[in-house]
Symmetry: D2
Subunit: 348 residues, 4 copies
């Protein structure tokens, strides 16, 4: 009953075996091996255009270096008020950019377009004192498990373009969003106006596989130096490539995400039947936020269930009652139906 996070899971055996198969032999270091190049080409195929790909160690690195690559002095990056870049990366995006984040409100973990427009208007391009708009970032799937529809991405992208701002997508759970929408990688990104993407594989069955995808290779030239200066260029880079190679093989990545989302569907469905429990937000991917009695949470923990009690968002101070608690449940490729059933049984 491990629902603490999808990064508590290990690695899918097919990815682990693909990695093992790469143990022998020799290959050029620092991202220049044949396997690195093969996997880069695979990314281009998946995204239906030539892209530049940069492996990095963590999702925070993907986000931070992506945003750093589009910064300017006094620049402001707009993100949702619950965004991972603002909440959970220890200031890494600010550190690498020497720039600031400005948070924008929005229901269900998604930036509200009107609020975004209003916020950007506060940072015009000649605002030497106040700072100037520099970039927009959205998370897909969001930090609370919801998913931007294609139309919703369009709306954000239109605002970014109208203000000449690059649009970044934090895709730590990219695959989960993709299968939730039932669309293609291209449709969910550059065809909507996304310029740069943090593409996460770790949470969905890899050990450590994160990539920055730059949709206009012309704009990717500085990233080689930005990444190396950030100490994020792996010497045996092909061990990352190998994981992605297994990840993409025969659509494994989509199968894993689909499974993970289905387990979350079961959780959602089951929770609705639990007395005293309710869903906090209408999530659609592999994260479920539930409000349950504190006693139920304790009971589940006593029986070995692992999950996090979640801080109440500042924007929703009255979300839970006095005897209740907000919990986050995350499913993964490794979650089983039995896990879900056992957990639901604990609660009530």
């Amino acid at each position: 009953m491990f629902f603490a996070s999808d990064n508590w899971a290990g690695a899918h055996y097919k990815i682990a075996e693909r990695l093992l198969a790469e143990a022998g032999g020799f290959a050029t270091a620092y991202g220049l091996s044949e396997l690195d190049q093969k996997v880069e080409a695979k990314f281009s195929e998946i995204f239906e255009r030539e892209v530049s790909v940069f492996f990095v160690a963590t999702g925070s690195a993907a986000n931070s270096l992506s945003l750093a690559s589009v910064q300017k002095p006094g620049g402001i990056t707009f993100c949702h008020s619950e965004a991972h870049v603002a909440e959970d990366e220890c200031g890494s995006p600010d550190f690498f950019s020497s720039a600031r984040l400005a948070t924008v409100k929005g229901d269900a973990g998604k930036i509200d377009p009107e609020a975004l427009t209003a916020k950007i208007a506060r940072f015009p391009q000649d605002a030497v004192h106040h700072g100037r708009a520099a970039a927009v970032t959205i998370t897909q799937a969001t930090e609370i498990g919801t998913v931007y529809s294609l139309d919703e991405i369009d709306a954000i992208a239109a605002i970014a373009k109208a203000n000449s701002l690059p649009l970044h997508m934090d895709g730590a759970r990219f695959a989960n969003a993709l299968v939730a929408l039932g669309t293609t990688p291209a449709e969910m990104t550059w065809k909507r106006g996304v310029d740069i993407l943090s593409f996460g594989g770790t949470k969905n069955g890899c050990w450590c596989a994160e990539a920055i995808v730059v949709f206009d290779p012309e704009k990717a030239k500085e990233m080689h130096f930005i990444r190396k200066r950030a100490a994020q260029l792996f010497s045996k880079s092909r061990f990352i490539a190998a994981q992605f190679d297994g990840y993409f093989q025969d659509g494994l990545w989509l199968d894993l995400a689909r499974h993970s989302n289905e387990m979350a569907d079961r959780l959602r469905a089951g929770l609705e039947k639990v007395h005293g429990a309710r869903l906090a937000w209408p999530t659609a991917s592999n994260e479920v936020f539930a409000i349950i009695p504190k006693s139920a949470a304790k009971a589940a923990e006593d029986k070995g269930a692992k999950f996090y009690e979640w801080p109440i968002p500042e924007s929703q101070p009255d979300l839970v009652g006095g005897d209740e608690t907000l919990i986050r449940l995350v499913t993964s490729f490794a979650t089983t139906e039995a896990d879900v059933g056992n957990f639901l049984a604990c609660l009530g």
Copy 2:
């Protein structure tokens, strides 16, 4: 005949299998799993004292964050003029520290103690304009394959202590130096006065296993934040731990380094017999620098040998003749006697 770098090798099969064995199950993320803790304890055992251990993605990260953790505004870190931190990390140590490196000369890739004393004297603690001494870093084994003797480390450490400067060791090839000296990890580090260590496993048979070892855990508290802000905290940290677990099992790490050094011994011995070839420096670990005729280098490359022609150090402009070239040969756990023999045969 792969002698380009030890990071062109893959992973030793025991380490790969150890990693595979960890694929299943669930565990706490971000370095807090049981396996992470077991491996941290293993580090303490190996170093014969309680140490704090921080896994990071690259050797550059280990060096940069180590040096950042001991910095102060206007601080100067002293390193050898050929040091990796100065030559090959794209300014990463300076970037993370907002501090500068000052290079110190010395034969055979090792800091000359007198030159170090003289250089430190140029940066007194009240030198607001010029900058003040902040740290000393040495590389063991050095960038050109030589190894500081214990007495030589003592000499550097004495100068660091006399100036109240922390001493960092870049141990990208720590194991190779250790077996070359036939000493213990404790003797080669904190017993000599080393305060903080970049402990490398990647070049010696792991895929990606680099750690910062802080010998005084009291001084390690800030590192948690320094690492996270640098986007170097792995979520599935236990996959790094698993590699180290396999690496340390039954002394595998020392066996691998011993093998690697022996292959370098064979290269050195063989090169002395090759007409027109000579060793550039008296190396003692798994790197060999040879001066050979350009024609011999070309012949070897034509037969498939992989190695780098190396830039002539600024301090030795007359090192090679007009028809000669300086080459670097690096052996690894995966180098075979046949590789060495074939390579030597290529040369002449």
Copy 3:
């Protein structure tokens, strides 16, 4: 009718003459002259304890370097949501600290103690992902012209101390607050728990006279390097010292602030009698915020009055009606009763 800002004024003639008197002769550069030391001693006398003083070029520098001097990796500085450090310094405090600001709400431009406590609680000292509380900063007088009472400073300081956080005061308009409260520099700062102060003289009759005052000289040692590395150490530092020397002579600084506040009192009193005008906030120093008909604003501008229309705070979206505008009026040592009278006459 110059009410755009107190930094549109020039220099008081006594300060200008004091500066002129210093033109001749020679003196040690970089802050070590006799005059520098005399003025440092004067600061200690004014604050009734030994303090360390660092002249810098701008108020932004004073704030940014003050906050940088107390930072830690992943640190968060708490400020009011309308604070100058957050709104008007182009990210300078973040840049110099590599740290982030978190804004706290509060009426009348002052941090609300309960909101501060709640916000700090979100950033505990072991919050590696989220970031940890590092400092609190308040502005006195505030950005909207209000003044923290001594009790209100006590309340903020108590929270800072309870959380072991240093307390910084942005005193760009320190003298205006001081005379508004009728208290002493010591009572308004370190006796309340302020650790470090940006002491501004520029807005109150100097040309360029800003100082960082550190109340515990033991903690000031790093500042020498922080300032120099920030390129803020003046060579002919005594020209700053000379301005402060004139500023403090015979209580000139308090006289100038008193005059400035009195002119604001006149403005406030007059505005209350203007049909259709009202004060936005109950200010007490030399800044007045008024809500007036747009037509009145235009009329005043047409007659040559200089002032800024001010952005509506995000926290008070309904502050002004559709035909109204929010204007900021700032008085200075150079404002005359005639200026005030003429301006009020313009409005209606």
Copy 4:
């Protein structure tokens, strides 16, 4: 007998009076006043082309922000091994750029063109590990008082252009170099290929007047934000403008520099006649470096002469004998013939 530095002098009375004249009245803050604009236009007139001008607080700021404005990740700025940016700015250029300096040798304080070419070649544009060439900076007059001839500047500029590197000139003593060469500002800068200039007025008779001059205004847009984020934008900017206005009036700046250089000529001529003294380098502006007996240095100090004993350059370890010392003597607008005569009398 003040020869410690030209920044020990005060302000020329004409500049002081010009500043005093500006004390009254009101003007737009932050560099937008009529006087600011008038002085900007004056710079364009002096340089015979439209230039962009940015006032900053210190010469270090001018250098650091100039270099920051042309940086790129992993970039290297090439400077002379005795350059002020490397030796005396506490790492400020590195701090603001997050980039590194590489020093180039050269006699008489001037970069040797061949050494520059060789050094740049070590940092090609694709050198992700080693770093890539980003900018060249020269100091005119140099740190040891010598002056690049126009041909010598041409030689450096040609190398910079051949490598597509911007060329910066540190003109802390620009006027002294200008009158030493008897040329025009345009001829000594952009006509030679200089792209950006630190124009110093402080050492030559101002209190605090330093400016960044960007010769291609198109490239100056980012500087507004770089400067503000660095907390270097003065609110009462016109007090800097006023100094420059007086400085340029009727060629005062050239007269002051001419006087200063003449006093240095007298020193040089006199020192040649002092028994046991000799000039260290063939200086041509207002700095004189002499090697004199330690006893003579002590005698002069005992009689009240102020000067600095200077560190022996690392490149010339045998410059002085055991009983000798290297001293630096700097003249200024305020140095008198009597000062020079008295000092020479002290020595012998």
